[in-house]
Structure formats: structure tokens, C-alpha cells
């Protein structure tokens, strides 16, 4: 089991290959691998998004992911599990998250991979601030995450946090 927070862009397929190479002992033992890759899109809610800043809570984030994996290991028969999650400045078409589960049988792989992804999504502390390119916003140039018009916090319930907050 490996959980990684990646501060730089990562290649999910290379991570998978490396992990399988490092765990050669499971060769011939696993019959199913279920993999999920989340990738940044260049639009959201009709807006063009040129980048985002992905913030996390070092320590707690890894702990939450490990708990999700641990619960999956209790519920399903899992041989190996790999989770990689990006943080920092992320641009469109860059991978954000990789979850891969190796099992004997496919039902376990499908169930566990989805469970880990959904649990991670709802419990692990990550927050994203999108840089929006829209007609009435001058900001939004790539590479800049300084406060400006055109930024938007995207929260778990799809509402900007600050907008809900009446102090």
C-alpha cells in the first residue's frame, strides 16, 4: 500500500508501472486491477478554467486517504493499493488523482477502487481555487495565483465557501 502526495506533475501510467515493478511479488497473484484517474479539465460550470491551486492539510490529508484505504482493505480482499494525489498549481490536462487497486477478482477491484475514490473525495482535506477566464474578468493569466478577480474556490458542495459565509 502506497499513498503519495505529489507536489509536481505526475504520470499515472508511469506510477502504475513503477508500482507493479516494485511489487513483483504479486505477479501471477492478481487477476484484476481497477484504476481511476482524475484529470483537470479546462472548463467547469460553463467557465474556461486556465489553472487551479490545490491546497491540502499535510498530515491530515494522508491520514484520511490511509483510513479510506484501510476501510477498503477490511471490506474487500485487496492485494495492493496505490493512491497518488497532486497538490499545488495544476493546469488543464494534468492528472490530479490516481487510485489503483489490485485484487484476485474483479468485483473486489471495482468496489474498492470506487469506495476509496468516493471516500477520499468526501473526507480528505483538499481545496481547489480555480483561475477563471471569463469575459468580465481581466485576470486569469496562467502561472499567477495571486489574489485577483477570476479566482473561485470550488468546494465540496459546489458552492463557493466565501459566498455562503455571512460572517
Amino acid at each position: 500500500m502506497l499513498i503519495k502526495i505529489a507536489e509536481q506533475p505526475f504520470d499515472p501510467l508511469r506510477e502504475l508501472q513503477d508500482y507493479q515493478d516494485r511489487n513483483a511479488g504479486m505477479s501471477g497473484k492478481y487477476g484484476a486491477t481497477s484504476i481511476f484517474i482524475g484529470t483537470m479539465r479546462d472548463f467547469n460550470d460553463g467557465d474556461v478554467v486556465s489553472g487551479m491551486l490545490l491546497e491540502y492539510y499535510p498530515g491530515m490529508t494522508e491520514k484520511c486517504i490511509a483510513e479510506a484505504v484501510g476501510e477498503a482493505q477490511e471490506r474487500w480482499s485487496i492485494l495492493e493499493c496505490l493512491v497518488v494525489h497532486r497538490v499545488g498549481e495544476v493546469y488543464p490536462n494534468q492528472p490530479i488523482v490516481l487510485v489503483s487497486v489490485w485484487t484476485g477478482h474483479r468485483g473486489d477491484a471495482f468496489d474498492a477502487c470506487r469506495f476509496i475514490m468516493e471516500t477520499l473525495k468526501s473526507t480528505a482535506p483538499f481545496w481547489k481555487k480555480e483561475i477563471i477566464d471569463s469575459n468580465n474578468v481581466e485576470g486569469g493569466e496562467k502561472g499567477s495565483f495571486e489574489p485577483m478577480r477570476g479566482e473561485r474556490w470550488v468546494t465540496g458542495n459546489s458552492n463557493g465557501y466565501a459566498r455562503n459565509n455571512n460572517g
Binding site: T123, P125, W127, T155, G156, N164
Partner: protein, 77 residues
């Protein structure tokens, strides 16, 4: 006793700091800590709370050395 408070994401920006150390009496709850730390600011709805890297309720009692974090809903993945 001394308690460390941390703020993340939009809440950090809203409050204007990422962390602070609060001096509080033993037996205080997180809700009371918030009022000590942010006397002019009602606890914002939709805010999550963690104590020592675990989600907890506002009614939780804090102890010397605890780290309390406040943050908006998460958007993992």
C-alpha cells in the same frame, strides 16, 4: 494552556491568517476557542473542524498541545 489553531483555503483568506496560538483555560471547547480567537466573527456555517488531524464536533473539549484546524468543505479528487 496553549492551543494551535489553523485555517485553510478560503477561510484562511477570509480570516487573514493561516495559524495562531491561543491561550485558553483547561476544559474549553472548540466553539469557545473560536470565540476567543475570533471575537468579532460568528463561526461560519459550512466550516469543518479537525482536532489533531481527526474530524471532530465543535463541542469537543481541547487539551494542552492540541492542534485545531478550521476549513471549508473539501474537494478532493
Amino acid at each position: 494552556m496553549q492551543i494551535k489553531l489553523r485555517y485553510f483555503a478560503s477561510l484562511r483568506e477570509y480570516i487573514g491568517r493561516s495559524e495562531q496560538i491561543i491561550e485558553a483555560d483547561s476544559g474549553v471547547t472548540i466553539r469557545e476557542l473560536w470565540a476567543l480567537a475570533n471575537p468579532d466573527l460568528m463561526f461560519p456555517s459550512n466550516t469543518l473542524v479537525a482536532m489533531n488531524l481527526e474530524y471532530v464536533a465543535l463541542a469537543e473539549v481541547v487539551h494542552e498541545g492540541d492542534e485545531i484546524a478550521f476549513f471549508p468543505p473539501v474537494t478532493g479528487g
